[in-house]
């Protein structure tokens, strides 16, 4: 049985963009999305996705 707070991979993916924007704007994504934070404490592939999206947004969309 996993952590009861753990949101799982699917929900984490669904909310990924909101989690990342919250983190960039307020640095409190873990508080706002505790289920995702619990999941990220044990799921490296989802951590990779979060880090990738954070990097993409920080880099900016560029001249499109």
């Amino acid at each position: 049985m996993t952590d009861p707070l753990d949101a799982g991979c699917a929900e984490t993916f669904d909310l990924l963009e909101r989690y990342v924007e919250r983190e960039l704007a307020h640095r409190d994504a873990a508080t706002q999305f505790p289920g995702i934070a619990a999941h990220l404490s044990g799921c490296n592939p989802c951590v990779q996705d979060v880090e990738g999206l954070l990097a993409a947004i920080v880099a900016g969309p560029g001249p499109v």
């Binding site: 996993t2 799982g8 699917a10 963009e17 990342v20 924007e21 993409a56």
Partner: protein, 223 residues
């Protein structure tokens, strides 16, 4: 341009309100004609740039460089464009459109790195090497003697405590270093299902090590 000026079908907006830039993206993608085509081209440019950055960021997980790496980014970007356009009705405006769209590129890179693993595996999955366990756990080689009994106990627990499915997933990910996304493809499963199986396997193994006096309860709670 305010979102109210844009012609977005009611079925897409409903009670939602998009920021101006997101509204422009959505309008372009749900429309027809040259404006739609231009928006798709812009979307592809954006997602290709993100996919390229991401494959370079994850390059350490792969054994490819140069044009092969760029091919992977192109494939990811193309599939991400398909994903975004197919699911545009699911965009709820709770984030900027570009953040939502970039998520698809990140996901496609993850998936393709998993597929790539099976095309060019870095290790033989038939050749299990239990001596790799200390390395996988980051144990100091100089202290192998201290850890030898723990490793033996762990190996016994893997054999005795885990179900066949748990053993397969634990060995593939922990011992062989198979990327989780690669295992998802190999087993036709989901990230979540494999993650939970691995989590349960680790709990069983820890409990076994505690029962046999190789770990204390505090260690278990912290890990």
């Amino acid at each position: 341009m305010a979102s109210a000026d844009l012609t977005i079908p009611e079925c897409l907006t409903g009670e939602r309100s998009f920021d101006t830039e997101s509204a422009a993206w959505v309008q372009g993608l749900v429309g027809n004609g040259p404006a739609h085509d231009r928006t798709v081209v812009r979307l592809h440019e954006l997602l290709l740039r993100v996919a390229r950055s991401e494959v370079h960021r994850r390059q350490g997980q792969l054994r490819i460089t140069g044009s092969e790496l760029d091919d992977l980014a192109h494939q990811a970007a193309a599939d991400a464009v398909v994903g975004v356009t197919a699911k545009i009705a699911q965009f709820r405006g709770e984030s900027r459109f570009t953040t939502w769209a970039c998520k698809f590129a990140i996901f496609e890179v993850s998936t393709k790195i998993g597929r790539h693993f099976w095309q060019k595996p870095t290790i033989s999955l038939e050749d299990k090497d239990w001596d790799r366990l200390p390395d996988r756990f980051g144990l100091d080689p100089a202290r192998v003697a201290e850890w030898r009994d723990v490793i033996i106990a762990l190996r016994q627990a893997i054999d005795l405590e885990l179900t066949e499915h748990q053993r397969r997933i634990f060995v593939a990910i922990v011992l062989d270093g198979t990327p989780l996304d690669a295992l998802v493809i190999e087993l036709g499963s989901s990230r979540n299902a494999i993650y939970k199986t691995l989590f349960d396997a680790r709990r069983k193994l820890r409990a076994s090590l505690v029962t046999n006096g190789y770990l204390d309860d505090d260690n278990v709670r912290q890990t």
